[in-house]
C-alpha cells in the first residue's frame, strides 16, 4: 500500500528492505529521524554512537564482517567522521556500507551550510542524491548494491527539504540476507601501512574509472527530453523546483552526483541550445562539467547562499538577480529557552559575574541571545572546552579568571572529554561547566551514554560524568543544582582563581522530559512588585510584562524552577499555593 513518508522515513525503509542489520549514527538535524525509524523494524539493530567518527568505525567493522550497515549524520557530522572516511575509500568494504549525510541549506538548524558533495570528490566515493521520498527509498537500496559491487562506501546525500518533506512511497519487502558474517583476515586490504595503502590507492583510482562508466547507465540518472528549451542539468530537490517553474524544459536529472557521466552530459549539452546547471549551495556540478570543457550556464553568486525554492529558481533561470521584497517588517519569533529550562540559571550567574563564556552547540547556545547575552563563542561540537584553554593560555594572568567554558552533556561525551584531558595535561586551570540536562535536547531528546539507556530504550551501563572528570585528572568536580544561583556563584568565585582546573556539573533534567509531572507554579505578588524588571532579564517565556511594568507569571507555562524568585530584589515572587491544597 502506498504511504506518505518523509525522506528520512523512506531512507530507513529502503535500508531495511536492502537487508541492513545495523544502523549507527549520532543525532543531528535534519538526519535524526532515520535511525529513530530504523529501530522500529525487525531484524535491525539501530544505535546512537558516541559521535559520528565512532559510528563510522563501528559500521566499518560490521561491514568487514560481511553485514550491510547504514550510518547517519548531519553534514557537519561528516567532518567528524572524515578521518575514517578517507581511508575507508582505500580499504573498501565487504558488506554494503551506506553513509547518509544530511545537508542543511539555509541553516534551519545548523552552524554552517557546507556542501558535503565535496567529500565525494575529496575522498573519491560515489554519492547519490534523491529528490523526494520515493527516490530516497530507491536510492538507499541502490546505494547498497553499488557499495557491494564496487566494494566502496557510498554516500547518500539528503537536504533538509528532502529529509523533512513527505511524499508518496510504495514500500516493498525485505530482501534475503546472506549470512553468516565472519572475521576473515585480509591485512593487505585492511591494514593501511604505507606499503599496502599505496596499492589500495591504485585500486581506488581504478574503481573510480569503473564508476564513471557505471554512471553512464546508472538507473538513477535520467534524461527527460521535453523537447523544449532550455536544457537543465540538476539534482536533488532543485529538480523538483525546476519542474515546477519550467515544466517544458529538457532535463538531465542526476541521481548520482559523483562521479558524473561524461558521455551522457556531453550528448545532453550538444542537443540543447542553452544548458543551465541548477544546484543548491556550491557550484559543484558546474565546476565538474566546466572542467570537462563544456559550455554551460551556471548561477550568479547570490544563488550559492541559502536554500533555493521555486521563486529563486525562476529568477535564476532568467539570469536575473533576486528581487528583494519590500513587505513591511513582521516581528521575528526566535526560539527561546523553555520556561523552567535548567540552562537559564547557569547563564544568569555567568551574566551576573560578567564572565567570558566559551560556548558550544546545543539548546544552551540560545544563552547568547538577549536578554541573557551570556555566551560568547560557538564553533563546533566540543570546541568551547579547548577554546577556554586557548584564551587562558595567552591572556595576561589578571584576565584569565574571566574565562569559563560551558558544554552540554551530550556534547561533552561527543567531543568535550578530549579537550578536558588537554586542559589537565597542559596544566591549564579554569572551570568547565557541564550543562547536564540528562538528554540531547536540541535535536529532539535522544538518549546518550551518560543516561544509561540506548536508542531502543534498553537499559545499559551509564557513563558517570563525575568519574570521567576525576579519572582524567580533575580533582575539583562538583555536582550542582542549576536552579541554585547562589550556590553556583559561590563555586565559580572560589574556583576561577585557582591554578588547578575545576568541573561544575549543573544537573537537572530538561523540562521537556519532566513535562506532565505536577508543576508547582510561582506567582507574583503585585502589591510587592516594584516593576524593576529584574526577573524579565531571565528571558523566561512564562513572565509577562503588564502595562504598568509589573510582571505576571503564566501559570500553565511556569514549572516552578524558582530562578525568577531568586533574582527578585523585593521577594515579590513565591510559590503559588492552591486554595484546596493543605500545606
Amino acid at each position: 500500500m502506498k504511504k506518505l513518508l518523509s525522506g528520512n522515513e523512506a531512507v530507513a525503509r529502503g535500508a531495511w528492505e536492502a537487508g541492513v542489520v545495523l544502523g549507527t549514527g549520532y543525532p543531528g538535524t535534519p538526519s535524526s529521524e532515520i535511525l529513530e525509524n530504523l529501530k522500529e523494524y525487525e531484524g535491525v539493530r539501530a544505535q546512537w554512537c558516541v559521535n559520528e567518527k565512532v559510528a563510522l568505525e563501528v559500521a566499518s567493522g560490521a561491514s568487514w564482517a560481511g553485514a550491510r550497515v547504514l550510518v547517519t549524520m548531519k553534514h557537519v557530522g561528516l567532518n567528524v567522521a572524515s578521518d575514517p572516511l578517507f581511508t575507508l575509500a582505500y580499504t573498501g568494504v565487504k558488506g554494503g556500507l551506506v553513509i547518509v549525510v544530511a545537508d542543511d541549506p539555509g541553516l534551519h538548524s545548523s552552524q554552517n551550510e557546507q556542501d558535503s558533495r565535496h567529500y565525494a570528490r575529496a575522498a573519491k566515493l560515489p554519492m547519490l542524491e534523491p529528490s523526494d521520498s520515493r527516490e530516497a527509498r530507491e536510492m538507499a537500496k541502490l546505494a547498497f548494491e553499488i557499495s557491494e559491487e564496487f566494494e566502496l562506501p557510498v554516500l547518500l546525500r539528503l537536504t533538509t527539504r528532502v529529509s523533512h518533506s513527505r511524499t508518496i512511497v510504495a514500500p516493498g519487502e525485505r530482501g534475503e540476507i546472506s549470512t553468516p558474517f565472519a572475521c576473515i583476515k585480509d591485512p593487505k586490504k585492511r591494514v593501511m601501512i604505507p606499503a599496502y595503502a599505496r596499492l589500495r590507492h591504485r585500486v581506488l583510482e581504478k574503481k573510480m574509472e569503473r564508476l564513471i562508466r557505471y554512471a553512464e547507465d546508472a538507473p538513477c540518472n535520467r534524461l527527460e527530453e521535453g523537447g523544449g528549451e532550455p536544457g537543465i542539468i540538476t539534482s536533488g530537490i532543485s529538480y523538483q523546483y525546476c519542474k515546477e517553474v519550467a515544466p517544458d524544459a529538457s532535463y538531465l536529472k542526476l541521481g548520482m552526483v559523483y562521479p558524473l557521466p561524461i558521455g551522457t552530459i556531453e550528448n545532453f549539452v550538444r542537443s540543447s541550445e542553452k544548458v543551465f546547471i541548477v544546484e543548491e549551495l556550491d557550484r559543484f556540478l558546474e565546476t565538474e562539467i566546466k572542467a570537462m570543457g563544456m559550455e554551460v550556464t551556471g548561477k550568479r553568486p547570490e544563488y550559492c547562499l541559502g536554500e533555493l525554492n521555486p521563486d529563486r529558481i525562476e529568477a535564476l533561470l532568467r539570469e536575473k538577480s533576486e528581487s528583494t521584497s519590500s513587505s513591511p517588517p513582521i516581528p521575528v519569533r526566535p526560539p527561546v529557552m523553555c520556561a523552567g529550562c535548567p540552562h537559564r540559571g547557569v547563564f544568569m550567574v555567568l551574566r551576573k559575574l560578567k564572565l567570558f563564556v566559551t560556548g558550544d552547540i546545543g539548546c544552551y547556545t540560545l544563552g547568547t541571545l538577549p536578554p541573557l547575552s551570556a555566551l560568547d563563542t560557538c564553533l563546533c561540537m566540543g570546541a568551547g572546552v579547548g577554546q577556554s584553554e586557548g584564551f587562558r593560555t595567552v591572556l595576561p594572568a589578571e584576565d584569565r579568571e574571566q574565562v569559563v567554558a560551558v558544554i552540554g552533556d551530550s556534547t561533552f561525551i561527543h567531543s568535550g572529554i578530549t579537550g578536558l584531558i588537554d586542559i589537565v595535561y597542559n596544566g591549564n586551570g579554569g572551570v568547565v561547566i557541564i550543562l547536564d540536562n540528562r538528554t540531547t535536547a536540541m535535536t529532539g531528546r535522544q538518549p546518550h551514554p551518560a543516561m544509561g539507556v540506548t536508542l531502543r530504550g534498553e537499559e545499559t551501563t551509564a557513563t558517570n560524568l563525575e568519574e570521567v572528570c576525576r579519572a582524567v585528572g580533575v580533582r575539583r568536580v562538583r555536582v550542582m543544582n542549576p536552579h541554585d544561583l547562589q550556590g553556583m556563584e559561590d563555586f565559580l568565585k572560589e574556583s576561577l582563581p585557582l591554578v588547578e582546573p575545576s568541573v561544575m556539573i549543573a544537573r537537572a533534567p530538561c523540562v521537556l522530559l519532566t513535562r506532565g509531572e505536577e508543576p508547582r507554579p510561582y506567582r507574583v505578588d503585585l502589591d510587592t512588585c516594584v516593576a524593576c524588571e529584574q526577573c524579565l532579564q531571565t528571558g523566561c517565556p512564562a513572565l509577562v510584562k503588564l502595562p504598568d511594568g509589573k510582571v505576571r507569571i503564566e501559570g500553565f507555562l511556569c514549572t516552578g524552577c524558582g530562578v525568577c524568585a531568586q533574582v527578585c530584589p523585593v521577594e515579590a515572587i513565591g510559590e503559588y499555593i492552591r486554595q484546596d491544597e493543605p500545606r
Binding site: 506518505l4 538535524t29 527539504r161 523533512h164 521563486d311 526560539p335 529557552m337
Partner: protein, 192 residues
C-alpha cells in the same frame, strides 16, 4: 499541462499542533487518490519558534514548497504568523485563523510592537479572513483542538469526502481525545 496543484499553508507557534494538522491534511489527500507533497520545518519549533508547514496536492505535484503568491488557503493558529506567511497566498484567497496572539520575545522585551489589528491588515492586503474565536470550539480546553477545528473550516472548501476526513482525523489523534477532536472538526465545518 496538467491541472495545477492546490497549496495549503499551515502556520502557528511550536506546540500548537501545526504539524499534526498538516499530516492529517496530507493523509486526506493521499486517501482521495491524489499526488501529495508536504514540507515542514522542525528545527527549533519546540522552543516556541515559528512553525510553517505546506501541503500541496493534485494530479501531479513537483515542489513541496509553494511558489510565492500561488497558495490557495492559509490555516493560522496565531495571528502574527498569519501575517508572516500570507504573502505565499494568491490575492483574494481565504485565511482561516484562530484569534490568538502569542507574543514573541522581541515584543515581550519591548523592542517592537505586536501589530494592532491583524485581521484588518490581512483584509487590507486583499485576503478573505474567517475567524475562529477562542470560545468557539465549545469543548473544554478549546485551544488544544483548534488545529482540527481549522481543518473543519477548510474541509468546506475542499472536495474530500466526509468519510475520508473522519478516518484521517480519528486515526491521527490519541484515543482519549477522539471525541473532542471529532466535535471540533464538525463545529469547524459549520463556519463558512
Amino acid at each position: 499541462m496538467p491541472e495545477k496543484a492546490t497549496s495549503i499553508i499551515l502556520t502557528g507557534v511550536g506546540g500548537q499542533g501545526v504539524l499534526l494538522a498538516a499530516r492529517i491534511l496530507s493523509e486526506a489527500a493521499l486517501r482521495s487518490g491524489l499526488d501529495v507533497k508536504s514540507s515542514e520545518v522542525h528545527g527549533m519549533s519546540q522552543r516556541g519558534g515559528s512553525v510553517l508547514a505546506q501541503v500541496r496536492f493534485g494530479p501531479r505535484v513537483y515542489s513541496p514548497l509553494t511558489p510565492k503568491g500561488t497558495g490557495d488557503y492559509l490555516l493560522a493558529l496565531e495571528e502574527l504568523e498569519a501575517l508572516r506567511y500570507c504573502a505565499l497566498l494568491k490575492k483574494n484567497s481565504r485565511i482561516m485563523m484562530q484569534r490568538c496572539r502569542i507574543l514573541p520575545s522581541p515584543v515581550i522585551a519591548g523592542f517592537t510592537p505586536y501589530p494592532e489589528d491583524s485581521v484588518a491588515l490581512l483584509r487590507e492586503e486583499g485576503y478573505r479572513v474567517s475567524l475562529m474565536n477562542e470560545d468557539e470550539v465549545g469543548t473544554s480546553g478549546s485551544a488544544r483542538f483548534a488545529n482540527v477545528f481549522l481543518l473543519g473550516m477548510l474541509a468546506c472548501h475542499l472536495q474530500f469526502s466526509p468519510e475520508v476526513w473522519r478516518e484521517v482525523v480519528l486515526n491521527a489523534v490519541p484515543e482519549r481525545f477522539r471525541e473532542q477532536n471529532r466535535q471540533a472538526f464538525e463545529k469547524g465545518r459549520t463556519i463558512l
